[in-house]
Symmetry: C2
Subunit: 193 residues, 2 copies
């Protein structure tokens, strides 16, 4: 039957809160309030705010990694179209969100990537694990002759995802997907064989 509160629900709430507001802009009390738990429970599950954030990143990162893998596996499209559809899907979700939040790993990397070694390490780990999933699809596209072989699959994956992140950040400020759509068109034009 278990206790009243469970960790995964808190992590899910934490993910939403941190994604939309950032790390230093959010206090523990806000998380307690939104998750509907008392402080005692929070500090029973998590050592500190930093530990909490690290676990949120890990939780989100792993979920996202599985989601991407599933998406690529189920899709019947060719590799290059799988990738393009994937990015289009992310943009659609963000648009529905009215551009609130964006990607937790992207935002948090920018906010504390240089000031907090523990979180930076976790953020990079998750990013790299996504990259591997993307690189696998890129590699298949290269084998099929769809994607340029001038650069390695991992180099192209980094290029794709870092570029995507940059444009994603711009979307936060402009609150418009116009340049994001152009980015998609240009990038997938550039990387084709």
């Amino acid at each position: 039957m278990g206790y009243k509160h469970n960790k995964e629900e808190i992590l899910e709430t934490g993910y939403q809160v941190l994604r939309k507001n950032g790390y230093h802009n959010v206090g523990i009390n806000q998380i307690l309030k939104e998750a509907g738990i008392p402080k005692g429970s929070f500090y029973n599950f998590f050592e500190s705010k930093e530990d909490f954030a690290r676990q949120v990143v890990e939780f989100y990162g792993c979920n996202n990694s599985n989601w991407i893998e599933g998406l690529f596996k189920e899709s019947k499209e060719t590799p290059i179209n799988k990738l393009k559809s994937f990015y289009q899907l992310l943009v659609n979700y963000n648009e529905q969100d009215n551009y609130e939040g964006g990607c937790l790993v992207n935002s948090m990397s920018n906010e504390i990537g240089r000031n907090n070694d523990l979180l930076a390490k976790e953020l990079n780990q998750q990013f790299v694990s996504w990259l591997q999933v993307i690189a696998d699809v890129v590699a298949k596209g290269q084998e099929m002759g769809e994607i340029t072989k001038e650069y390695s699959a991992i180099e192209l994956a980094e290029y794709l995802h870092a570029g995507f992140f940059g444009t994603f950040s711009r979307m936060k400020v402009t609150r418009s997907r116009v340049y994001m759509d152009i980015w998609l068109e240009m990038t997938f034009d550039f990387i084709k064989a």
Copy 2:
């Protein structure tokens, strides 16, 4: 002769502090300490922390805009090489900094681009003014037949600078320029005519 403290010096200190630590991670007291001024002087010059940050962004944005313009004007290289050298220079500076800080506009856009309308507006304004300078050089490159005409100068400028920002963010976490150098190579390969 003037009073003891002057606003530009405070803005310069503020720029360094905000760039390295972010917005919400920095308190007024830290700025007072690093700038060596009492609180009374700060609130004599600035209405609030938010107003201060806005002025720092404006100050940095304009300085940077002028610097870029000067750089492009003095350089004897062709447009595409001007752009590449410009980005390489930025990376070199960041490397010398041991990847602390990065670009204030990039970092701050990510941190508060969606939560603070006043700052978001200023950040976007500065970004767009840089973009115009870059687009002018891109346009010259297109005229000379060096750069692809498949996309407009401003589209290419957005593509360049947003992509650069994304990779710049990654550099904060990885603390290495490896993928940044690859990004440079790939991007300037992609956009050539």
